[in-house]
């Protein structure tokens, strides 16, 4: 089965530059400062943000706050059952990537000597898991009211025979096609995260990055609407 059919459609009926449906819900978790639930098609992610609070002394930084991320997937999230939800090499790597990305998004200088915990749980994984986690985390941070440079949005893009395809599903990720995960702030030219899987021809790099950037801007539009709607819904509580 080819990734793009002769009529220009992908396996799930999308166009190459079309993202999946984005569904969100904010403020589900009553224990956390901020939380979000986000769906990209069948990829479903829950995110909770705790803090800023006075964290562990070992993690404390004098001039800014420490960001601690944890990426974990439920054992039933993928096609095959996993034995461990977290702690393996791949999820540790994902945690570090999220940590680094959000260290440059959050205005960490505003909370010296404190700690912010970000926990992402992939309930169902159907491709672009890291991108979905970035988007969910952005919304959870917005829900928690933590000052940021802007809402970060991310997208995973691949390239098939010179044509970029965006927001990959797990079926598309299983092929040996090069894929780039890119995260930008407010859909502008500020890149906070970039990751490449498999080998990519240098000529294709600019094409993929261009497509990924455009998709990030599209996703940002979705996230911004959600954040604004949530703020409006909260307005009676806030008193204005």
């Amino acid at each position: 089965m080819s990734i793009i059919s002769e009529h220009g459609f992908r396996l799930d009926g999308r166009r190459p530059a079309q993202i999946r449906n984005v569904n969100t819900r904010l403020g589900l978790n009553r224990n956390a400062e901020g939380s979000s639930y986000l769906e990209h098609g069948n990829t479903k992610v829950l995110c909770a943000v705790y803090g800023p609070y006075e964290g562990k002394a070992s993690k404390r930084l004098e001039d800014r706050c420490a960001i601690v991320c944890q990426y974990s997937t439920t054992t039933f999230s993928g096609l095959e059952r996993k034995n461990r939800p977290r702690g393996d090499r791949k999820s540790t790597e994902m945690s570090r990537l999220l940590e680094k990305a959000f260290e440059s998004v959050i205005l960490t200088e505003s909370f010296p000597r404190s700690q912010i915990d970000i926990f992402c749980e992939v309930i169902q994984g159907d491709g672009s898991n890291l991108a979905a986690c970035v988007n969910a985390t952005s919304l959870a941070l917005a829900d928690a009211g933590i000052p940021m440079k802007g809402i970060a949005s991310a997208a995973t893009c691949g390239i098939v025979e010179g044509n970029p395809i965006v927001d990959l599903t797990s079926r598309e990720e299983t092929d040996l096609l090069p894929r780039v995960t890119l995260a930008t702030i407010c859909g502008r030219d500020e890149v906070v995260l970039v990751e490449l899987h498999n080998r990519l021809h240098i000529d294709h790099l600019s094409v993929v990055m261009e497509a990924a950037k455009a998709t990030c801007a599209d996703v940002y539009e979705c996230l911004a609407v959600v954040a604004q709607q949530h703020l409006k819904a909260c307005a009676p509580i806030l008193g204005n």
Binding site: N23, L28, L46, V68, T75, F76, P85, G87, F119
Partner: protein, 310 residues
């Protein structure tokens, strides 16, 4: 989530419980509102989400696996279910990293014990045994998404919900060369030129009406409680995890069996209180079984593509 109560708050709570009035207006044997939804995850063979008192949130997913085992070394048939409980860090930051592993393992072990005789209790579970050396392995994975007390009770409901949602494919077993067997999915025969792959596989479901329920009965002051809130859990003297299974051998005249008793946390208990607590668990389970059966019957099938947390 950490809860800090002062001594006076605790005394108020304990005195209230002894007078059979809890802080949220319930009596000692009342549960909070339970929400049960099935078929929430399309990527699993069976799934269920249970919410208790709007905050405790449990998600259960079941994945089937065709397992081969050595029939020579295994004398007695093993029950096919494997339980795994994971505390998501989303529930509380104390579960981050390995923080929830110990508690998770403790609860998984209790479920393994409570379901250890499930081949005798559940009427059609033995159908998961396909042929000599082959059986379906049922991986029951539980994820605790939010935490506000009574985790084992909520998990046991979610497990039963997911087991009732579980669809197991019918297979045809045919003898093959060298004493082996070949296992093929069974599809109903349809006439005409419909290709075999387009016909859906026949499925069957487990009979869950006698699955064990696990209830935590807590001793606060002199009173016994079910379904404790986090504030009440701060005042617990001692807690028992009791597994109750309903046997439906005689219709209309149900009897209840205890499949597991386990003390959680520390504390001392008198023999007499243990008896009272088991009695209370049995009484509570009657109502809970009834409510569960009603819900499982009345719940409508979820539309495909409909997401559950929205």
């Amino acid at each position: 989530m950490e809860i800090n109560l002062s001594d006076d708050e605790k005394l108020f709570l304990i005195a209230g419980v002894e007078a059979d009035i809890r802080n949220d207006g319930r009596s000692c044997q009342d549960f909070r509102t339970i929400v049960l939804e099935r078929g929430v995850l399309s990527g699993t063979n069976g799934s269920c989400r249970v919410q208790l008192g709007q905050t405790t949130d449990i998600l259960t997913g079941i994945k089937l696996e065709l397992e081969s085992y050595d029939s020579a070394t295994e004398k007695e048939a093993k029950q096919p279910m494997q339980f795994h409980v994971d505390f998501s860090a989303n529930a509380s930051s104390q579960f981050a990293g390995k923080g929830g592993d110990q508690y998770g393992e403790e609860i998984s072990a209790a479920f393994q014990v409570a379901y250890s005789r499930s081949l005798d209790i559940m009427s059609n579970l033995s159908k998961t045994h396909l042929a000599e050396g082959y059986r379906w392995k049922i991986n029951v994975d539980v994820s605790v998404l939010q935490w506000a007390g009574s985790i084992p009770d909520a998990i046991s409901l979610a497990v039963i919900g997911a087991l009732s949602d579980l669809e197991i494919p019918e297979v045809e077993v045919a003898p093959d060369d060298g004493g082996k067997v070949s296992i093929v999915l069974k599809r109903p025969r349809i006439g005409g030129n419909v290709r075999d792959e387009e016909v859906p596989v026949q499925m069957w479901r487990l009979d869950v009406q006698s699955c064990p329920l696990l209830l935590t009965i807590s001793k606060i002051g002199t009173a016994n409680l079910v379904d404790c809130s986090p504030e009440e859990e701060c005042c617990i003297r001692s807690q028992l995890l009791i597994g109750i299974a309903k046997s439906v051998s005689t219709p209309g005249n149900d009897t209840y069996q205890t499949t597991c008793i386990k003390q959680l946390g520390g504390g001392l208990l008198e023999m007499e209180s243990i008896e009272n607590m088991i009695e209370m668990a049995q009484k509570t389970s009657i109502g809970l079984y009834e409510a569960l059966a009603k819900r499982l019957k009345a719940e409508e099938k979820r539309k495909p593509g409909h997401s559950f947390l929205l």
